[in-house]
Structures are given as C-alpha cells and as structure tokens.
Symmetry: D3
Subunit: 219 residues, 6 copies
C-alpha cells in the first residue's frame, strides 16, 4: 500500500475519477460516486486523500453550542485528510467557508467535499484549497445547519463513505474508494489508463469504433 499511495501526488496526475469508477464497477461496487451536483469550485482541481467524515443536518433554530461538532471535527483532521461532510442535501445555507478551509489546511487537510453549499468562494479559490460543493450561499450555517457527529460513516446520495476511505475528485465528480480495496483499485486503474491510451490512438486515426472496441474491450 505504501508503495502505491505514499507517492499519491504523482498518481493523482495520472489518474482520473472515471477510470477509478470503472474499476470499482468491475469489482461490483456500483455506487462509488457522489451525486453529480457536488462540483469543484475550480474545474482544474484534482483531489486525493483519506476521508474524515462530518455529519450535519438542517435545523430550525440556533443550538446551544453552535459550530461545536464542526470545530471538533476540524481539530481532529490529520495530514492528507479530505473532509467529507453530509448536510442531508441542505440548500438553505453554507456549511463551509474560508475560515474552516484555513483551519482545515493548517491541520494538514488537502481538501473538502460536501453535499451542501460553501461560501467565501473567492477567497477559497485564492487559497487554492480544493473544495467540492453543491453550490454557494452567502448565508452562514448558524441556526440553519448543525453538526451532528464526526468520524462515523455517512451516506451521500447512494454512496457510503467511511472514515479512512480514499476520496478522488476531479472535474467529472467525486469517487469514494473503500479503504480495503484501495490498493487493488489504484493498481488496476493505472493499468486501464495504459490500455485507454492505446485505444485512443487507434480511434484517433479513424478506425471503426466497433472494431477497436472488439479488439481491446475498452471504451
């Protein structure tokens, strides 16, 4: 594992979310992707790290201890972590923002992914801290969204993310790779990238798509 993942920054460039999803499909894991409205703030960003999970929920009123769970979660982040937050698909306020990004990065986190909204997007872009979110709101979460717990499995759409799973995110979306399958998945994905390069070359010179698919079995 160390061989493969220690140097993940180089694999990050060689890989992409779609090839990882293909390998997970082939292993019977067909719900590997987060919902398609979770998008990068900057389309060039690629993100790879271990999931640190946060579960939040919409609320009707300000709780006694606003932000308590969120802040505790931030303070538990480890180098290489990707904070992955469920907001139950909330569309009323922004769970994430620039100060949380600053704190997360200071603890070593490499990015954040959430099924809700972010704010302070201009400064997050200026920080070049990869955030993948479902949209934007100027409204703070206080009295609108509250942290429930962190460090437990969460479900976003039909994808379950457990702490320690690997998250790979790019312009095509966000894929969760179960920790115990990571080595297999990354190895096979690198192999498939090579295969795709050959297919691409064949197709680019005008060969019949049917023939090429018949020969290589890759699309």
């Amino acid at each position: 594992m160390a061989d493969i993942l220690a140097h993940y920054s180089e694999h990050k460039e060689a890989l992409y979310s779609s090839v990882l999803a293909d390998i997970l499909d082939s292993l019977g894991c067909r719900t590997s992707a987060l919902p398609p409205d979770v998008r990068p703030l900057r389309s060039e960003w690629k993100l790879l790290g271990r999931a640190a999970t946060l579960s939040a929920a919409p609320v009707d009123a300000e709780p006694k201890d606003a932000y308590a769970v969120e802040l505790e979660c931030i303070d538990h982040l480890q180098p290489g972590d990707v904070l992955v937050a469920s907001t139950q698909g909330d569309r009323k306020s922004a769970l994430w923002g620039e100060l949380l990004s600053t704190a997360a990065r200071a603890h070593g986190a490499v990015g954040a992914v959430l099924d809700g909204f972010t704010r302070d997007a201009a400064r997050i872009l200026a920080m070049d801290f990869p955030v993948f979110a479902a949209g934007f709101s100027p409204l703070d979460s206080k009295g609108r969204l509250d942290g429930m717990n962190h460090g437990r499995p969460i479900t976003i759409g039909s994808c379950t993310i457990r702490p320690g799973d690997w998250i790979f995110a790019d312009i095509d979306g966000v894929v969760c790779i179960p920790a115990e399958q990571a080595e297999t998945v990354f190895l096979r994905a690198l192999e498939k990238v090579t295969g795709e390069n050959r297919v691409r070359a064949e197709l680019a010179r005008g060969r019949s798509a049917r023939e090429v698919f018949k020969e290589f079995g890759i699309l």
Copy 2:
C-alpha cells in the same frame, strides 16, 4: 450615509456578500439572500447598487404591448441602480439580454439581477456588465414572459426587495440590504472583516479551531 456609500466602489472591494449576510442575520433579518441558483455570468464580478425593481410573469401568448413594462422600467433607471427582476422563477425563456444591458448601462445602471434566464451571454460578458441570472436560454421572452409592473416591491424566494434597497452580489450570491439598515450594516460589516482577518491569521498558524472560536467568537 453619504460618507459610507458615496464611495461604495472602494467598500465593494473590501466587502463580500457573506459578511453582509452575517450582519443582517445578527440584526434578525435572516432572509437576506436570493435563491442560490441566481449566479453571476462571470464569477469574478462584484456588484453594489440600489435596487430598481421589475416584476414579470410567464404568459401563454403574446400580449398587445410586448416589452412595454420592461422598456419603461429601463427608461426610468438612475445612475447607480441595479435592475432586480422577478420572473416568478420562469425557466422557459430569457427576460434579459444584451440590448437591455446596453440600454440599462446607458442609463447608468451598474448591473442586473434576475431569478430567470438571460441570453446574449457572450456579448454581456464582452461588455463586462454584471448580470446575475438563474441560467441561459436562446429563446426571447416575447409571448413567454411579460412585464407586469416596475418600481414596486418584489419577492424572490423568501427575500423581499423594495426599490431603493441596496443589492450586493458576488460569487457567493446576492444579498439585499434594506435601505434603512444600510448604514449600520455596511459599518458593522467592515468591522467584521477586520475581525475575520485576525481569526484567519490565528487559524492559519495551526491553532485549535475551537480555541480560536472561543477567543474571538467569529467563524
């Protein structure tokens, strides 16, 4: 007021929609933001001005006097105005376009915000005229949307905008600041920006997020 707002272009750079929404929240005004699907055509745009309102509605057929209310509204625009149009969330055609942008700018308007669609986006971008809209359509509004009245309060999502209210819009969204609260809101927002700068510095050097929040009470 004049002291604060006359030179709004400099404050525009120092401020952002999220800090304004926070101040409005603290004053009990928790529906200050337009719906999150109202987005800038160019994410770098910031917009600040006084609301001039237009109310439009989807229609089944071409009215006798197509565009009449829209054109009258344009001709009443004053320097510094932001045209804010309600289309009742229409998704069938574009109320806004390049020629209206040209006319609005010629009357001194600094931007336009609508809960419906725009068209001619390429030329609006070339004009660098800040338009915030819910999407794009090549279809004209004639026979699909019609102006009902202008210069009266409108409601978009749960936010009510009255003529003369202040509109601040950026990548995070669009905030409406009631005219009578503007001075308070802008002053407090500038103060909060200063406080956030200190918090950011503390967080960036790796202090516990809980401790920093406990000390400054800002997030």
Copy 3:
C-alpha cells in the same frame, strides 16, 4: 443553400443561438431550443453542424451487447455532423466521454450534444471538441444506459431533432433548425444581426429604450 452553408464556419462567428431562435419564433417554430441544462463544457464554444441522432435509455442491467448501438452510430458519422443524443434525461451515468469524442472527431464530427452527462471532461476540453451536456459523472453507462437506435428523430424536452437538421449551439444554449427551413433561417438571422447592431448603437448613446424599440421594432 450551398452558398450559405458551405462556408458555415464564417457564419458561425457572425451568428448566435438567440438570433436563430428569434427567426424560428417568427416562423412559428417556438420549440427550437433544447432544455437549458444542456450546457457547453467551455463557455466560449460555438458549434454548427448537421444532426446525427442517437437514442439511449436508462436500463437496470447490462445488456448483452453493451455499447453496440452507440458504436454503430459513431461509425456512421459523416464530416460536419453533430452527434445529438437523447438519454431520456438520465442523471445516473455518463453516456459520453473522451474515447467517443476521439472516435467521433476521427469520423469528421464537429461536436456532440446530449441531454445527459459526460465524463472525461478534462481531456475533452484538452481536445477542444465541443460537447454540450447536462452535467458530469465519473460513472460509465454500461449497465446504466443503453443505446436504443440511431438515425431516427429524437425528442429532447419539447424540441424534436431529425437527422440532417442543423444544430447551432453556444453559451446561450442549443437550437435545432429544421433542414428545410435552414436557408431562410440563416439568411434572416444574418439580416437581424445587422439590425441589432444599429439598435445597439442607438441604445448605447442613451436614447430612450421605448423610442428605439418603436423606431426599429427590434429587441
């Protein structure tokens, strides 16, 4: 026809989807635009070509002959074609991707339009191959979406596209121009562009929008 369309690349620059939609409106064709969620991956792209149609549908399980119809469709593409695919608005996986883009371009296609998702967006952008899609997913279509037939009329939203119709797509959206009306539509659209230029100049110098509209009848 040849005079007008043979040199379409120059007309492509002079034209835009909104003026084409206006001419089609004036001819009684008011459902000329695809749904507004079909967006260009790069907002600067303009696309003009003849429709080659593909009909796909969401499925529960992997069919015997995955990709068969899609590949056959690709192999039938002709120079100047725009592949237009219906997925019945599927939001579960990506019908389109980089290898299909490569194969389509190798057969002479100038772009692709679909009411579903694409993947491999980074490499499609790098290819500069204009794809207009409703979003992104890392998930492959195998066992999720399947080609039903190609070369037959398809319906996307309220717009019917027949093979051979002309497709014009830009930042404002995608317009379908029925083949038999293309000559009329393109000629009138070029005329309207000229009229709009005059209106723009009048509006830009601050004349009343009502007066200018009264004089020119163009908006």
Copy 4:
C-alpha cells in the same frame, strides 16, 4: 357532429380518457394529455365539455383590479363549457374555489380544470361540481396570481387548448380533443371500446397475451 355530441352524457359513460388518447395518438396528436398532476377532487368524476380558456400568472403584488379577468371569464361561460385555466403551474395559492364554482355552474359550466390549486374543496365536493386541479391551498389568489386574459389558446405542459376544443377528464387524467377532430375521435373511440371488450374477454379466460395481441392488435 350533433348526432354524436348532443347526447354526450351517454357517451361520457361509455368512454374514458385513455381510449380517447389512443385515438388521438393514432391520428398523430401525441400531446393530447394535460400533465399528470392535474387530478380530480373525486376520483369517480367524469367530465366532458367544450373548453373555455383562462390564462393566469403568478404576480408579486396585488393588481389594481384583482379578479377582473377571472370574473369576466366566468360571466362569459356558456352551457356545456369546461373552464380550463393555466396558472403557469403556480404552487403558491388557489386560483379556484367554491364561489367561482357556484358562479360557473350558474352560467352552465359543467366543470373546471386547472394546472394550479383549488381551495374550498369540501364544499366543491358537496356541490358535486367536477374540478380537476394540481392540489390544494387555503391561500387566496389575490396578490399571488392574476388573470391575464381569457378566450385565447393556452398551453399546459405540452398540450395546447383552444377555446371550443373538447375536454374529457376522468380518473386517468385530462385529454384535449381539437374541435375539428372531435367527430372522428369520438366515433373511433366508441369502436375501440367495443374491440377492447372482446380482447378483455379473451384475456380473462387465460389465453396467451401475445396471441391475443397478435389476433386483435389491441392492448
């Protein structure tokens, strides 16, 4: 025509919306049905009459002359009419209610169909006046919805209804039969009902569905 439609109450019992939609399909009219959320308040109701159209739209504020178009439309109703109202799919208030039902019935109308909400449903049920609506709201339309015009074609979903078209509505939904096709449609529908009776008998005694369909071509 008179022979067929004068005695429509007896045909009303023999017919149903699905067989009428089948005949319209066979004549190439495939958008004959209103959207499926337009439902009868009482599932046993059947409604047949000539369309009298009303176009309404959501508004931001109370107009000068609230209800004016609605009341004028009611006062123009003729015996046998079905009031068909478009609200642009409004979901904020009820265009229809008991007093309008009372007035409409007093003018001879046999029912009402709208793509928006009704209120006073208990008393409309007590009146046994067939109303087909998209739901219920206790909120009045004043300042929320306003009549735009009446007696002009309207479009609900993908179905266009012109004054004088025939409306047939039952538990399965609402079908619009263009006036000029009504005689053909009603005659063929009665014939198809007869054919279906034979097919039903064959199927009920356990014959292979494929065989029966092969023999009769009806499903």
Copy 5:
C-alpha cells in the same frame, strides 16, 4: 378569548382553513399556510388546537438515544394540543406512526401535523386520529431522522409556528394562527363566512359574477 375558543369544536365546523387564511392575509400575515404537500390522511378531517412543536432532522446514523426528544415531547403534550413537527422536509422515513398517535391521544392531543412522512396509516385511520403529513413510508425514523428539540419555534416552508399558536387544518391545508391574533381572526372569519353565504346565494341564482363581487367585495 375563552368565549370564542373554549367551544372551538362548534366553530371548527363553521370555519374552514381558506376563510382563516383570508383574514390572516387581510391582517398582513401572508405566510399563514404550511406547504401544500402536507395533506390529511382522511380528507374529511378537520383539526383545531394549540401547537406543540417538535423539530427533527435527517441523520446519517442511529443516535445514542434514539427517540428521546420525540418521546419527551409526547410526554409534555397537553389536552387540546396539536403536535406540529418539522422534519426539514425529509422524504426518507416516517417520523410519525400509530404508537406515537396512541400516546399523543392518551395525553390529550387532538391531532398531529408534520412536513414529513407517517406510517401505520391504516391503524391511524382506524383510530380516527387526525394526522396531516406529506406522505407515507414503511421505514422507521431510527437512524434516519432524529428529534432535535421540542417546544421551540419551528419553520415549515415559509410559515413559522410557535408553541401555543393555533392550528386549523382541513382538506385545503394547514393554517397557523399566531396566538395573539387568534381572537380577532376567529371573530372576523365567522363574519366572513356569513358574508360568503350571501354571495353564494346571489351567484347561485345566475347573477353576473362581476356585479356580485362589485356589490359584496367578497370572493
């Protein structure tokens, strides 16, 4: 107040949600109705009582103390209360069911209203305990929805409900009457019912709707 509300069961029969909403509109309270998808399980039910509020939220995992807040809320119910629960519009499981209905009734509650789902609908109907909900699910809330607090103001759609407000619900929907306005609202509503009876009689005998509205100003 006692005179009016002590005998509310008789007023309940004379009143209906739409007339109460009209009076609230006339007092400037235009967000008095819950969203239209909150429907009675039995359309004949009418419900009147004082709001006892419960706030729940969707969660990713089973909390330590499942049901704790819900049960505490039930045990605090007083005779004449209507339990009003916010679930943040959850559509994944049923917050409400037969056993909670049984317990609520045993504590004197007269009904329950929620913006989420119920289950055990057959037995709730058999109990004749008025429940107004947004739908049905066989799935229990445990690990899907959790109580956050009770006895505090909640917001459902654009309507805020405070403990002690009056709830009136019938086939047209659910209206919240602020406690301090209740006496005025009920009195005026009873008056308006009388006025409507006269208008109905005038309309039923075929008078022009415009004339009747001009004379009585009621619709």
Copy 6:
C-alpha cells in the same frame, strides 16, 4: 417455509409493511422500501406475493415490436406472482392498464407494482386487482416506453428486487423481502406485532411514552 408462507393470506391480514421494514432494518437491510410515490390505487389494498420482474425504459420512437417484452413477461407469470416493473421513473405515459391487469390475473398474478404510471384506473378498481403505481396517465406506452427484459433483477430507487423475492404492499408503501430471508422476516414480524399490541395498550391508558419505551424497547 411452506408452513409460514403457504397460508400467506392470513398472515397478510396480521402483518403490515412497516413491521416488515422494521425487521429488515434490524437485519441490516435498510433499503427495503420502494420510493414513496409508489401508491396503491385503493388505500385499503394489501398485497403479498413473489416478485416477477419487468424492466422498461422511456424511448423516443415506436420500436419494431411494441409490447413484445411486456406480453412475454405477462405470459410467464405464475400463480401468486406480483409483477414488479421498473420504468426508470418515467412520467410520460402509462405502462400498465386494465387489459394487462386482466391478463396478469388470468395467469394467477395477485397484483402489480410499478415506479411509473397506470391507466384505466376505474376499471382496475372495479376488478379489485391491487395495482401500486406512481400516478396516472391516459397516454399509452407505445412509442413512449418499451419493455427491455423480464425476469432479471431490477432497481427502483435504492431497492433492488430479484425475481422470487417477496413483495408486501399496503397503504404505507411497498417492501421487498429477499427470498432467502423471508422465513426469518415473517416469523419475527409476527412476533413484533404481538409486542406492539402490548405497547399500544400501555400507551393508550396514558402511561409515559418514555417509560413504556424503556420497558418494552418498541416504538
């Protein structure tokens, strides 16, 4: 198994979908329910049988062999089967109707469940053949929906149904019980019904809900 299920009609009366979902939850199967918009045409219906699956998909045009897969599926139905059809959530036409109900019943099927629309609802109600569907349309499926295959696993919402699984449906919704767990599930569900009866009695006499839950652990 035979002991339990052979006499399922009596268990059908004793059981309900919510108690079955609770047992499945307790066994770790938390996606046992179909989406909540799949509703019985008659709310009193209860349905229990073995799943026979059909997969259909929306299409753009009439296929060569309309209805072929549907009819073949019907002809393969066995006594005690429940036809469960996926339409990919189609909302454009009705897959199901009276003639298919007639044929299905003649082959011994006890009901039908689909995530799309039905038509001929009046006659299906008259037949008393339990159909659970997502709504109604008068439009036939021909050229709108087509059968893809039958007798293979299908997925509706997040619930996967395999041929031979047990389907239990009532007013609360539709639950799928995997064949290999059926004996356990039905036995435990009958036990839980007994427990609930005791809890209900305790609650009905006004005991604290918290105490009763503490004592019995059932809600």
